[in-house]
């Protein structure tokens, strides 16, 4: 398939949407089903987390204190093996049915030829995350 294959881009966007739906559902299995064994998760400018086992551990530890999450997708579009997501990630940590954290974030995803997520690079303000209840993003 060429870089401009609409079908490949649509498939990749669907994979990324399924991955992010896993966050809405706080379902780490659903997230990891979209990823390669050697995936890399990078919260800029923190240390990269590499490999499915460690990424699973990281995501599970974020879900652990969360009562509810909802990721508003502002833009999702791709080209070639890449998909960008511009989002507002909303988090309820205390179960009060309000969003204590609304994080504005961009995530860039790189996918393999067979449509799995190989790399995920997140760009956002880390103090915004930690100041409003976000747990540690280091293993």
């Amino acid at each position: 398939m060429t870089d401009n294959s609409d079908a490949k881009v649509a498939r990749n966007e669907a994979t990324v949407r399924a991955f992010l739906k896993g966050w809405d559902d706080l379902d780490v299995d659903a997230c990891m089903a979209q990823c390669t064994d050697n995936m890399c998760y990078l919260n800029q400018p923190l240390e990269a987390i590499r490999g499915k086992a460690d990424v699973r551990k990281m995501i599970a530890s974020i879900f652990e204190p969360a009562k509810r999450a909802e990721f508003d997708l502002i833009h999702v579009f791709g080209k070639g093996n890449r998909v960008v997501t511009e989002r507002c990630d909303k988090w309820d940590w205390d179960g009060s049915n309000t969003w204590q954290l609304k994080l504005h974030v961009c995530g860039m995803f790189e996918l393999t030829e067979d449509g799995k997520i190989l790399e995920w690079r997140e760009y956002y303000d880390n103090n915004n995350w930690t100041d409003d209840g976000g747990p540690s993003l280091e293993l």
């Binding site: 800029q44 400018p45 833009h75 579009f77 791709g78 080209k79 890449r82 960008v84 511009e86 504005h104 974030v105 961009c106 860039m108 690079r121 760009y123 956002y124 303000d125 880390n126 103090n127 915004n128």
Partner: protein
């Protein structure tokens, strides 16, 4: 204009804007932006309009000895263009004191000017490494 022609035009104006940063040329940068430009560095407040955005842009450039926004990814869809970048800054003449990983999302209007500019990066990394103010006092 076909969709692909529009996207090509939009990507070109965004690249022109990024080149203006490399040239540290506030006039060239501002020429890429619409009169009603909305510039947001999340989670800071939006800066709206040519006058105020110029103050920020010119203010940053005045404190910059050299700038190079390395473009890692740049592609568009509809009216929007994404740029994944490593923004390299020399604030003191001693080399790249700050290399800031960043994604900028740009909305381009029908006239082909950038009307929305949203940058996503770690603000602490910016300010701790010499980055000047990003809001109007």
């Amino acid at each position: 204009m076909s969709d692909s022609e529009t996207i090509k035009r939009n990507v070109a104006i965004v690249r022109e804007f990024i080149d203006a940063w490399g040239a540290v040329d506030p006039d060239a940068a501002m020429a890429c932006l619409s009169d009603d430009i909305v510039y947001i560095n999340h989670p800071l407040d939006p800066v709206v309009g040519q006058h105020d955005v110029r103050q920020i842009v010119a203010g940053i450039m005045a404190l910059s000895k050299a700038v190079n926004w390395e473009l890692r990814n740049c592609f568009g869809h509809g009216n929007t263009v994404t740029t994944e970048r490593l923004d390299c800054w020399d604030f003191d003449g001693n080399g790249w004191g700050l290399k800031l990983p960043c994604i900028g999302m740009f909305d381009v209007n029908d006239a082909g000017l950038i009307c929305g500019w949203r940058d996503y990066f770690d603000n602490k990394m910016w300010f701790d490494n010499g980055g000047p103010t990003l809001h109007l006092d």
